[in-house]
Structures are given as structure tokens and as C-alpha cells.
Symmetry: C2
């Protein structure tokens, strides 16, 4: 295993130190492993909180900042944060207007955020939750009942973050988050496995001439394995199941081609070209896009495609200023 | 070889299509393989042009846009663009105020940009050149006489781009570029080789328990190989040679921890923490930083550190708005 780390037991603590030192917009509660905005949430603003297992950076800590998250809880590698972490983040970030929990649909995350929400209610903090479930690859999976929450989480955190920033109340922010969740779909693939530091070896074996279509962001099995194919064919196998699941014609979309962590940008640009061409041929209009590493799986090579139907309101919220380590524009 | 490509012969052409489709701020001359700003350089503004072998994305094409480059020439993989490409970019981007060529110090790049500059002079376009030579690892190398040009190129393109954007003349922009070049140093390391698509196999062999210290961005040999060490020790081996080469105390610096393409962000954050701690201990003040993939070597795992002494003027130019695929803030 070749990694830039000190010790398999200190990877997350060490990375949190680096995040705090590099990003002037955040502060880190190292005890609870929560990343907060450097400045306290302004009075009366809905607080947006997310979190999940580490290993998906920049998600979620890299999306803390003006226009996006107020706090992010960092779990162990590929493991849900604890309810205690989430409760600390929730009560600390609440500024009197309530808190939205953005939860990727994995059994542990859902259970722990639910518990944290109940505990927060005991402290009179109102919490609403959106469970992101955008992965069309499989219905149930290794750690999930129902669809997994993957790339759409990035778009949802941006758009819900903008809605909270412009002063909408908790019901309003929740409605926007639900709208994003209902209108977005994703599908991913892997060329290689990832290696969890503590395990020291690849999570799964994938022969040199094969790829996994529909892989999860922790290396969970996807739909099937097959011989390595061209970028054009891979794009087809990611885009078609998405378009079969939801009609994306007759309006605008936001499209993300996301790298899994070990895939260089030149390949992601190339994949974007193929994805865009397929969407154009299918009559899907792309209004905005993201190409890069936004929700990763440690060092896995591969990519995912996320498509979101975006009405004018969602596009406006997308375009609103954001200042985070992972996404920044307008400021 | 596992890559998201269609054919080893069309990687660059296909990636250029993806760049054009994803980045509304650029247009691509596919014939000459030059990426331009979507809008013509405004009359009287110095044009900033760079380019080099492909495989280092987002460098250089991802840095074309307001506040940074006017045009970037994409060579074959790890191979200098031709003088014809550079001449096309130079004459097309010139807006009457002359052109600055930003050239990484590799023999082919230097020779071809020099030839293009001479040809441009025949067309009455004034060209000045800065040859970036920041890599302290080795004096001469596989493709270079003198020091190689690596990570500092990113910082130089940003700062010179800002100087041109605010209307300085060619002498003024050149002076800024030279000041950056004189005050910045870099050093890199590799955990793994990269694989050039046309070669189909790793450029060099690096045993599972070894790393290469001082590697070049094309996999050129560095200073030495040694057993894999901790992130803290690797950071020391990158930072110390830089600090021995130039005194960075007594002022501010801009620091970049750059990924080589196959290293996930969590490891880069962790490395930044180690680098920052070493600089603090050495009395070096970090005013700004970048952590991410900015000048890559295809799928190589590893990282590099760049440090630039930055006076108030350089910091102001650094902070000026930039709108490119690879770097964006303030707009």
C-alpha cells in the first residue's frame, strides 16, 4: 500500500489538521471531528449540516463555507460519524432557525443522523432531514436499503446551501433540497479498487482487463463486471440507465462528471465530452456542469455521472456565490 | 493499462473536445490545438500565452480565462507543442500590446517557443519570454539543461495574468513574471510511475516499498530512491531542499501542495498539514496556499511542494479575480 500518510490510525486526524491549516474559511473541532465555518452561523439563518465516512474528500468538509454547509462531521474511513458528532454539530451550528441534515442513504448514516435529530429535538433545536438516494445502479446494496446516496449530494449541498444563505426558512430550504433529490440521478464505475489504509490492501479484486459498472463509493458491488471498454461505451453505460430512470428532456440540467480519486483530469475532460455528446443526442440540454474530483473513493480509478433537472430557481441557487475549498465562485 | 480513453491516438483530441464543451470561458482551435479565451483579448492588453506537453492538466488549458492565460498550446503527451502552434496562438492572441510566453524549462519547449517568438517578430508582434526553472531537485535532467520548470508555473501564470489584466505593459508584466521566477522553488516526489497511453506501460519501475524523491513531472529520475517513509518524513525531504536553496524567512509566502494526478485529496490535505508545520518551525510565514491537483503527471501518485516569496504586490496580484476551469475566485 503506497499512501502519503503517517500511520493508518491517524490519517483522519492528520488530514483534519491540514484542512484547518489550509482553509481560512473553516475551523475544526478536533475532539468531535466536526468542521465548521470559521465564522459562526448568522442569527436566523438555517444551518446546513452534513457528514459521512471519510475518504470521499472534498465531500463533506471541503464544502463548508459561505453559500454551502455550516458544518460537516467526519466519520472514520468509509464509516458513518456517530450521533454524538452530529448532535454537537447540530446544536453548535443552530442559529435559531433550525437545521437541515443532508444525509447520504447508507444505513449507518441514516440511523445515526436520525438519532442525533431526536436528541437535538430534546434541546429544542428543530431538525429536518433529506436523505439523498440518487444512485440508479442498484436497489439495495452492501450498506444500504434502497438507493445509495452519491454524487447528487454535492449538487444538493450547493443548492440548499444557497437557499439557506439567502434567508429562506427551514421549510423553504427543505422543499428545495427535496426538489433536488427528486430530480437528480447518478451512476458510477470503477477501473480499480480503492485501498482503505487500515485494511492495507484493495477492497476488491478487479482483473487488469475488467471494469465494474455501477460501483458504489465504498467499492460496493455494482450491476456487473465486464471487459474494459472505450470511454464512449463507458459513458453510454452510465448515461443510459440515468435517462431510463427519469425524463431529463424539456428543460435544463446540471451535469457532473466526477472522478473517484485516482483518475487524472485529462480522462475526466475526455469523459465529459462523451457524456455531453450522448445527452445532446438524447435531447437533454446541459445548462451547467462540473468536471473534477468532488465525491471520491480514496484512490479508486473511475468516474461517475450525475444529472439534475434544474428549473430556473435551482439554476439561480446554483449560480449564487459560494466560497469553500471544494467549490468556489462569485466571491 | 486502465484508462478512460477511446484510443491511444485520440486522447488529446478527445480531451480538448471535453474541455471546450465543459468550459464556457474558452474556445478551442482544434486544428492547431490551442485553447483560447472565449472572448478575444481586449485591445491594448498584454496577451499571456503558455503551453507544453499534455498530461499535466489542468495546466495549461485549464488556466485559460479572465485573470490568467489568453491562450494555451497543447502538445502531444509529455511533448512540447510545435512552433507553428505557438505562432498561431501568439498572433491570434496579440491585441497590440505584445505577448508574454511562459515556458517551462524543458529543452524542446524552450527551443520551440524561441522559434515561435522569432517568427512572431517577423510579423511585428513583440514577444517576451520567461523560462520557469524552479525545481531544486536536480541541476540537469532527462529533457532539460538547468533546472526543470514545474509547480511555480501555476503561480506565475496566475500572477502575471493578473498583472496583464490590470493593464500593465509588456515590460511591467515581464518584470512581475521574472520576480516570481526568481523567488519560487519546488520539489516533487513519486509513489508510483505514470503510464503514457501510447506506451501502455509505466514509464519507470518503482518497487512496492520504494519512492522516488525529486522526480520530474514526466517521471524523469530525481535525486534518489529510498524506502517508503511517513508523510512527515516525505514533507521534510521536499521542504528542506527548498529552504536550503533560498531564504524564505522575513516575509510572506504562497505555498502549493500539488497532487501528481493519482493521489487523493485526503492525502494532499494531510501533506499540507506536515508542510505547514515544517514551515512554521522554520520561521516561514504562509500567507496563501493551494492544495489540490494543479500540475499533474497523468496518473502518477505523489505530490510536489512549491514555495514563493511574495511581497505585497505579488499577494495583491494573487488575490485579484480569476475565472478559469482550474483556478477561480472573485468572479
Amino acid at each position: 500500500m503506497k499512501k502519503l500518510i503517517n500511520d493508518v490510525d491517524t490519517v483522519i486526524a492528520d488530514a483534519l489538521k491540514g484542512i484547518e491549516l489550509s482553509d481560512a474559511c473553516v475551523r475544526v473541532d478536533h475532539q468531535n471531528r466536526v468542521i465548521y465555518r470559521a465564522e459562526k452561523t448568522r442569527e436566523g439563518k438555517v444551518a446546513i449540516i452534513s457528514g459521512g465516512g471519510s475518504g470521499h474528500e472534498p465531500l463533506h468538509g471541503g464544502f463548508v463555507g459561505v453559500g454551502m454547509l455550516d458544518a460537516a462531521c467526519a466519520g472514520q474511513m468509509f464509516t458513518s460519524p456517530t450521533p454524538d458528532q452530529m448532535l454537537a454539530a447540530t446544536t453548535e451550528a443552530d442559529a435559531g432557525a433550525g437545521v437541515l441534515h443532508i444525509v447520504k442513504n447508507y444505513t449507518g448514516d441514516v440511523m445515526n443522523f436520525e438519532m442525533a435529530g431526536e436528541m437535538a429535538a430534546d434541546s429544542d433545536v428543530r431538525v429536518e432531514t433529506v436523505v439523498v438516494a440518487d444512485d440508479v445502479a442498484v436497489q439495495d446494496s452492501l450498506y444500504t436499503a434502497g438507493r445509495r446516496g452519491v454524487g447528487l449530494t454535492v449538487l444538493l449541498e450547493k443548492i440548499a446551501g444557497a437557499a439557506a444563505e439567502e434567508g429562506r426558512d427551514l421549510d423553504g430550504v427543505l422543499e428545495i433540497a427535496q426538489r433536488v433529490n427528486e430530480n437528480g440521478r447518478s451512476m458510477g464505475m470503477a477501473l480499480t479498487s480503492c485501498t482503505v489504509p487500515a485494511a492495507g490492501k484493495p477492497t476488491f479484486d478487479l482483473p487488469e482487463d475488467e471494469m465494474e459498472i455501477g460501483v458504489g463509493i465504498h467499492g460496493e458491488p455494482g450491476r456487473h463486471r465486464e471487459p474494459l471498454a472505450s470511454a464512449k461505451e463507458i459513458a453510454r453505460q452510465l448515461v443510459e440507465p440515468i435517462l431510463e430512470d427519469l425524463d431529463f428532456t424539456g428543460g435544463d440540467t446540471i451535469v457532473m462528471v466526477n472522478g473517484m480519486g485516482g483518475t487524472p483530469l485529462i480522462e475526466l475532460y475526455l469523459m465529459y465530452g462523451e457524456v455531453h455528446a450522448l445527452l445532446e443526442a438524447a435531447g437533454v440540454s446541459v445548462a451547467r456542469n462540473l468536471v473534477g474530483n468532488y465525491i471520491t473513493s480514496l484512490d479508486m480509478a473511475g468516474c461517475s455521472v450525475t444529472i439534475l433537472k434544474a428549473d430556473d430557481e435551482l439554476l439561480e441557487l446554483w449560480d449564487a456565490p459560494v466560497k469553500t475549498a471544494g467549490l468556489r465562485w462569485g466571491v
